[in-house]
């Protein structure tokens, strides 16, 4: 059984963010070429995935949603099996029954992925209750969007975790968009973390484009949750650089706003910082780029050569 990855060094985090970017941009290319169905990408949000997941231990659990490739890859999932799932192949993590929208990888602790906005919030408390009652100090990291924070289940989930002392790190990736709706059309507040007080728990907002800041904040929060068993709401303030789903012409997006955020791209940001510090060289980056592209190419080959599921699979896995 594969072990979840632990990414500690800045260069490991950088390379993983580059892998996520390459993987998702390749998905877009496959979609544009008609070789794969559309997907939701996390382009611009890789720092949240890598920063938080790098702070988790091997027994911790992750819940995620429709925009999950980053979380999965940060955790060490096989890009080939993710892509096979996206392409509906039987070698996909869910045998092709999921498709891109709800990929779970139980063996890595990435469980119960749901594309119902708020689904991960529904389920996180239960996973944490199991952890609580079955012992140990593991925690649940629950990734959701600013849109999910508008759903009633956000309120119910965070409140229950608070009163039941459940070990959940709620990670709200506030990417300023909810499909085709601007976040500021959906709430009067700017930071979702300001809602934490209403549940009597700690909330904080971190620069979601700075993977090291995210990692530091997440590590602190997770350490605290392991001790106190109380939930914390961590918001990564960031931006969705591509459309909601591929393809999406983004004609509803203000190009200036987008450009300003692209300039703060988390991968570019870390590259520049490390180059400036001298902790990485241009050649190192080139080598990384080659490696991630090779990984993606292998994934494509694996997925494209994988068979579709047999029709008999239609009615298996319905009941236990």
């Amino acid at each position: 059984m594969p072990e979840p990855d632990t990414l500690t060094s800045p260069s490991a985090m950088l390379e993983r963010m580059m892998l996520i970017r390459a993987f998702e941009e390749n998905n877009c290319a496959l979609q544009a070429a008609g070789s794969a169905p559309g997907t939701c990408t996390s382009v611009g949000q890789e720092a949240a995935a890598v920063g938080v997941v790098a702070a988790l231990g091997p027994n911790d659990l992750i819940l995620t949603n429709h925009r999950s490739s980053g979380h999965l890859l940060a955790r060490g999932a096989d890009p080939g099996r993710i892509l096979a799932e996206i392409m509906g192949r039987s070698t996909g993590y869910c045998k092709g029954k999921s498709g891109s929208l709800h990929v779970s990888v139980k063996e890595l602790g990435v469980i119960l992925t749901s594309t119902i906005v708020g689904g991960e919030l529904s389920l996180a408390t239960g996973a944490a209750l199991s952890l609580s009652l079955l012992g140990g100090d593991a925690v649940v990291a629950c990734f959701f969007g600013d849109g999910a924070a508008c759903e009633g289940i956000f309120h119910e989930s965070v409140n229950l975790a608070a009163v039941w002392n459940l070990p959940v790190l709620y990670v709200c990736e506030n990417n300023q968009w909810q499909a085709f709706v601007r976040r500021d059309e959906t709430m009067l507040i700017d930071q979702i973390s300001s809602r934490a007080a209403g549940y009597g728990i700690e909330g904080l907002t971190v620069d979601g484009n700075d993977v090291q800041a995210v990692h530091q904040a997440a590590s602190r929060a997770i350490r605290k949750i392991r001790q106190t068993r109380k939930p914390i709401l961590l918001e990564t303030y960031t931006y969705r650089q591509r459309g909601h789903y591929e393809p999406d012409d983004q004609n509803y997006v203000d190009p200036k706003e987008l450009a300003a955020w692209v300039a703060k791209d988390p991968i570019g940001h870390l590259k520049n910082k490390m180059l400036g510090e001298g902790t990485i060289s241009a050649a190192d980056i080139d080598a990384m780029q080659k490696r991630v592209h090779a990984t993606v190419a292998k994934a494509v080959e694996f997925a494209q050569n994988s068979p579709f599921p047999d029709a008999a699979e239609l009615t298996t896995d319905v009941y236990a």
Partner: protein
């Protein structure tokens, strides 16, 4: 055999299964307050009150079920389940399939329903057919104390989400319950009264109404077989078909509204698979296409009554049904 009321049978099933398996936990609004005996025996960690929040109660159950616990939740009255449909249908019922079989969801959702307490349409709405229609779920709706106990124990041991519905007036109805371990398997109907002229298929408290009708029919020389479905999903098709093929005449009785109800399913099964044996139209006797009213007078009128069942069965047996 000891006599006990249905509520007692339920309480025994819960306690026995919690004793047997430490992964069984129970929570809901007032569960800890109302089930002090479970708190006393199993502790506050396993028996919990919750905030008023049906969606997260069900979601927590689903999440816990997928990760090693076996939760039982009490959502009180069936209409309140409307707040938890996403968690039950989109998560608990589907995520096993969606994940390619990575997870299972051993959980039980309990709720009350049915006419008799004049509580009106927001506490009383027989929604069982919604869940029968939904892949990934099981549905149980017993009629007698022994079955409440035996089926609830089986539901708790089942590895799938089970909706366990109690007709609210049955709670205080007494019946014999076998001593010791008493399990009733899910998916098996029970012949409540054997007969040869007409089959009456029903479930939950309507079974008692049907038995009364069968008694009256017997006095008129008509031998009615009464089948108590007990589990609505999986449905015991072979029990229904065996009786339909024997009598050739079928009446289905339930309190839920008619359209797309369990009666429609039973009628459709019979019309396909027992067609060659049918001697008469398959007739449904059900509640009307209206929300359940509160006023006692109207609420009684909502429920199928023995007289109507008797009249239908007589028409069928005599060949005088308008569509015969």
């Amino acid at each position: 055999m000891p006599q006990m009321i249905v509520n007692q049978a339920i309480a025994e099933a819960l306690a026995e299964e919690m004793r047997r398996d430490s992964r069984v936990v129970m929570f809901g609004e007032g569960v800890a307050t109302k089930r002090q005996e479970l708190v006393a025996e199993f502790g506050k960690a396993r028996v919990r009150n919750t905030p008023l929040a049906e969606a997260i109660i069900a979601g927590t159950a689903a999440g816990a079920a997928a990760t090693g616990l076996r939760p039982i939740i009490d959502l009180l009255f069936e209409p309140f389940i409307c707040y938890a449909m996403d968690q039950i249908v989109n998560s608990a019922a589907k995520l096993r399939y969606i994940s390619g079989g990575q997870f299972s969801f051993p959980m039980v959702v309990m709720a009350l329903t049915g006419c008799g307490w004049t509580v009106g349409a927001q506490h009383n709405h027989n929604l069982e057919s919604w869940f029968v229609h939904t892949p990934g779920l099981k549905v149980v709706m017993p009629s007698t104390a022994d079955d409440f106990k035996g089926l609830l124990k089986s539901a708790i041991r089942d590895d799938n989400p089970v909706l366990f519905f109690t007709d609210m007036v049955l709670g205080y109805q007494a019946g014999e319950v076998p001593e010791g371990e008493h399990l009733v398997p899910l998916g098996s109907a029970r012949i409540r009264r054997p007969g040869t002229d007409v089959t009456i298929v029903s479930y939950a408290k309507m079974v008692h109404t049907c038995l009364q009708a069968a008694e009256e029919l017997a006095a008129k020389g008509i031998s009615a077989e009464v089948i108590d479905l007990r589990t609505l999903k999986p449905l015991d098709e072979s029990a229904i078909l065996a009786s339909a093929r024997k009598t050739g005449r079928v009446v289905v009785v339930h309190e839920a509204s008619r359209m797309c109800g369990v009666g429609a399913e039973v009628a459709a099964i019979v019309a396909e698979q027992a067609f060659a044996s049918l001697k008469a139209p398959v007739v449904r006797v059900t509640g009307p296409d209206a929300p359940p009213p509160s006023s006692y007078a109207l609420e009684q009128a909502f429920m199928p009554q023995p007289a109507r069942i008797v009249a239908v069965a007589q028409e069928l047996a005599s060949g005088e049904h308008p569509h015969a």
